[in-house]
Symmetry: C2
Subunit: 322 residues, 2 copies
């Protein structure tokens, strides 16, 4: 059994508890929160974040389920002193810096830090690296969606006149199909995706003004084909409460001159936080094994053999999974 | 630089040499053959298999490119005494026994044996295990093709009256599409595939008799929807000399009750032997690294971190691939 704690109980933290039923070898000891423990709807013990060090001997691995902007960069380097950790740090541009910091402290304290799990970064990182290693000649493209983007939805909700909003990232199906057929594509993040925005207006708001404002937000919307749909509050609560997501990593490679090889990985997820939670749970298993082997330091998904994620025995894997 | 030797120079051995241009950090020293060295069309030195032990100090990793029925089970346990090896042993039912044998001898001799690389077993094994670990609740299905099956083509060619023959395995597109849509499918190898056979007849052969004989071969054809097409020798040599292949691993999972998560991996390969060669070359890199770390014994694709397959530095992987 691997005894875990969850740090933070937003969408991801709650999903980790929910998905645990699929991981019978993992035992949730405590949820840690900076909110009032009484306000947390968990089936296990909830304690204040400030009490966490009392659990040092009881917990094998902490899963850091907070945000990547402030929570994880602050909590990771603190918690890795006393705990093995798994996190979902997802700021691609800062992974290297974060990894380096975590690696140093983990090594000093004989701990394991599995950083940037989830699916992107995470499984997509793994597939991109695998495709690149096997097909050194080629181009890798990532298509995100169809799916709800939390970050873009937040931006929409900050536009004056918007009462509720949800943003879906939609991959360019024509381009993706062309890639699948082995055709060369003119990929850029903006040409490969469109953005569909569903908005409930404040009573006094002007629909055209809100729509124009959204479409012209630099970086987030301006470079993209953006569609804004004004909907009723009723429709919003009926159809836009889910958090589906997914995407595709595709490498158009050549094994030799003009001999094509297409490598493709797809995820189609009804619940982004639940899948991310499931990935972090499998890596919690890996973290416990690495710690048991005294293989300390920070690890990414690229550093950990796939067998470490599985609860199956070596014998079973050899007999049925190879 | 990793110095390699290739043992066996059929389709796979020749493809390894051809694909080397994409692996500038791998250097081919010698091709070993049991045929006459003069008869081998290689750009590098070709030597007799019986002289192989003379290369012990020169070669870091041998890639065993022979057949899985007789060559590899015989050569592997012999060669692992003096060399690190990578092989493409592909008999699923016997992987465990072969691994166990190779592991024992590798450990006794401080060598690394990477067994059963390629794509199935190989990458498909890796994806099946990954999907199963992250989505413990669900069903994994493997669809092979569209592609040329060497084994089935051999069986066709042994039917009396057949001059030339090629067999293509075609996945059931309707079933695959249903799986992609998250529908539950009634998968069996036979319902999930059909077999298209292209045959050139001997002059005296009866087309209906040949067709019936093929369709009724137990295990290979009888359980499948099998189509036999009689074609001219001209058409055969124009259209059936390639070795395309590929396939799909798909897991229909649930992260929690009724919450679906689809995980899918696809390969679409113009040349099966060239892609298999490319996979074995990436694992030759890994074998050399494992040996340098004195991490001896037999390893499968499940035991080796993805970063070991890549020629990129840790810093580059962290900055650009995570």
């Amino acid at each position: 059994m691997v005894n875990i704690g969850i740090v933070g109980f937003g969408n991801l933290g709650a999903s980790i508890e929910k998905c645990l039923e699929n991981f019978p070898d993992i035992n949730l000891i405590t949820v840690f929160t900076r909110r009032k423990p009484d306000s947390i709807n968990s089936k296990v013990k909830v304690d204040k974040f400030e009490n966490i060090d009392q659990y040092e001997t009881e917990i094998d691995v902490l899963i850091l389920a907070g945000g990547s902007q402030k929570d994880i960069p602050e909590q990771g380097p603190q918690l890795i002193r006393n705990f093995n950790t798994v996190d979902v740090f997802d700021n691609h541009a800062e992974v290297k810096q974060y990894y380096t910091k975590m690696n140093k402290i983990a090594l000093e304290n004989n701990k394991v830090a599995v950083v940037s799990t989830g699916w992107d970064p995470g499984l997509f990182s793994l597939e991109r690296t695998l495709a690149d290693a096997i097909l050194p000649k080629g181009n890798t493209h990532t298509f995100w969606g169809p799916g709800l983007s939390q970050g873009h939805s937040d931006v929409v909700r900050r536009v004056p006149g918007v009462k509720y909003g949800a943003q879906y990232t939609i991959p360019n199906k024509k381009m993706l199909d062309e890639a699948r057929q082995g055709k060369k594509i003119e990929y850029s993040t903006a040409t490969a995706h469109q953005r569909d925005v569903y908005v409930v207006l404040e009573e006094t708001a002007d629909s055209e003004e809100v729509s124009d404002t959204i479409k012209n937000i630099p970086d987030y919307f301006a470079p993209y084909q953006t569609n804004v749909y004004i909907i009723s509050e009723e429709e919003f609560f009926a159809n836009h409460q889910g958090m589906p997501h997914g995407g595709t990593v595709i490498r158009l490679g050549e094994t030799s001159q003009q001999v094509k090889a297409n490598f493709e990985f797809n995820l189609n997820l009804s619940s982004n936080p639940e899948f991310t939670a499931s990935v972090s749970l499998a890596y919690a298993r890996a973290a416990a094994r690495l710690a048991a082997e005294k293989n300390y330091g920070a690890k990414t998904v690229l550093d950990i053999p796939i067998s470490y994620l599985s609860s199956r025995t070596k014998s079973e894997l050899l007999a049925k999974y190879i």
